[in-house]
Symmetry: C2
Subunit: 307 residues, 2 copies
């Protein structure tokens, strides 16, 4: 089944302890689409500028990703520059040039409208809600957001959360959104805002999915998936979006939609996130095989499963 | 099989967001012994003062713990006071009155010398090494330490680490000991100092065990166990010692000593840690049943295992 992702396509300048790269393809929709493309048909809605060339478009096309929803606008593509020091969990933003992204008005191509799955990457909450209402027939909607909207557009975000099924955010965002410092309690408060499930990404400690009572079948408990203890993280950019791509992509590839599928999806999210950070930008995500992905899924299993 | 634990027995004054308790039984050896007592015969080596009464001794005796190694010295028992604010991972120490613990010279009773397992709770590293040399015939030695010794007695600690099989410390201690900010690399450096296995406790994110190449059988990967996302942590004091008690107690209860046993032990460590924090002091650890423990073990499994 196919999935529509709405979000940013960007050029990034990244510096980490492992090196430095300028003008590499990035953006939440890019990482998401590449990661999800190993599981299902992906359709992108984004905006780029005149500097977006065939070379970049081919990165999507080679993975069979539908780019008809990537609008070309007059001006430059969104650019972001960041530096990671030893604490790879947090980037210092050097610059953010929104460029054509500043006026981004997502337009869903007619051909995308039969898609069963939708992922709202991190954009202004009202735009997310508009897209969700437009794609009214979807089976499941995933959503990301960030501290900027949690603090600056809380009311709008609250409206959006009523329309989404799975929210994927990190520990800090969860606590901020719930105004509650204890994570399990914060999770319950966020679920009360609308989503059927909440995926909290813990960085190097993996991720936990919390379910609303009765959502996606029966079960008493949350579920936790690991990440891979990697010797070297080259570039953490896009790890969360790749996680979301693996998670949503796997869900969209399955006939059933139940807790067991979402638990496996949590593992695949971690798997795709772990690949993403092994090289700068999207390099590793461009050239994977499903065999490599499933081999790593098996490692994640060995990392957590008793005999 | 039986296990000897060497460490502190104390009276604690604890304040947390859930309330306040004064003069409650605490200390690393106490938490460890109670947690381990549900799995195996436990023998304590510690020192207490004249204020240590039958009431406290009965807490050990009711759990069948051997107290012949608890020496009574002239003076007062070790006292510690701490306050937890919303960040339950870290206590603010209000006072530390070492009292009789200041001159603690562990003496192993003759009757303890046939024990197959040894746990060196957090005391001065040279004392730990002395005990380990004295208990020369043990099958496996576990060890804890803290930033105070890592920074202040590094050379002595390095000698101790050559004599222990499993070191159980937290993320910060691992990085500090290895002088390396990336956890998987830090783990490898710590293993190179001596231990066959390193258990890193991640607080609310669970724990990971790293193995030395070839130690405890064959295997490629580390292993990670969760903790329980608890709605309310009443008193985090002793969580790490209870974790160690569950871990070591389970290991000592098994005939085999291999990676699969150590992985299960990691789960039991998390289980006992999760019980410990549910009430003030050792209250919850005094009155558990093996059925409750195994039911929670099952929850930990459901939390992490795919079908």
């Amino acid at each position: 089944m196919s999935i529509v992702v709405v979000g940013s396509v960007a050029f990034d300048d990244v510096t980490s302890p492992s090196g430095s790269m300028r003008g590499i393809l990035g953006g939440a929709a890019t990482y998401f689409a590449l990661a999800a493309s190993y599981f299902t048909q992906v359709r992108v809605v984004a905006v780029v500028g005149e500097d977006f060339a065939t070379e970049q478009e081919n990165v999507f096309k080679k993975r069979g990703i539908d780019t008809r929803g990537i609008e070309r606008a007059a001006g430059k593509t969104f650019r972001w520059g960041g530096t990671y020091s030893d604490n790879l969990n947090e980037a210092k933003t050097n610059f953010t040039d929104l460029n054509v992204f500043e006026k981004f008005q997502p337009r869903i191509p007619k051909e995308y409208e039969d898609s069963e799955y939708l992922f709202l990457a991190n954009i202004q909450p009202t735009l997310q809600a508009d897209v969700r209402r437009h794609m009214n027939g979807v089976r499941l909607t995933g959503c990301d957001t960030m501290n900027y909207w949690i603090n600056g557009a809380r009311a709008e975000l609250a409206e959006t959360l009523k329309l989404v099924d799975v929210l994927l955010i990190n520990d800090t965002e969860t606590k901020m959104l719930a105004k509650e410092s204890k994570l399990p309690r914060a999770a319950q408060k966020v679920l009360a805002m609308g989503p059927q499930a909440l995926v909290i990404k813990h960085g190097e400690y993996g991720a936990t999915i919390f379910f609303r009572e009765g959502a996606f079948g029966i079960g008493r408990h949350p579920f936790r998936a690991p990440t891979l203890p990697l010797d070297e993280v080259k570039d953490p950019t896009g790890a969360g979006d790749s996680f979301a791509g693996g998670f949503m992509g796997y869900v969209a590839s399955q006939q059933d939609l139940n807790r067991e599928v979402l638990k496996r999806a949590l593992f695949y999210g971690g798997v795709m996130g772990s690949f993403a950070v092994e090289s700068f930008g999207t390099e590793r995500l461009q050239s994977l095989t499903r065999e490599e992905i499933d081999a790593r899924f098996q490692i994640f299993r060995e990392l957590t499963h008793l005999e």
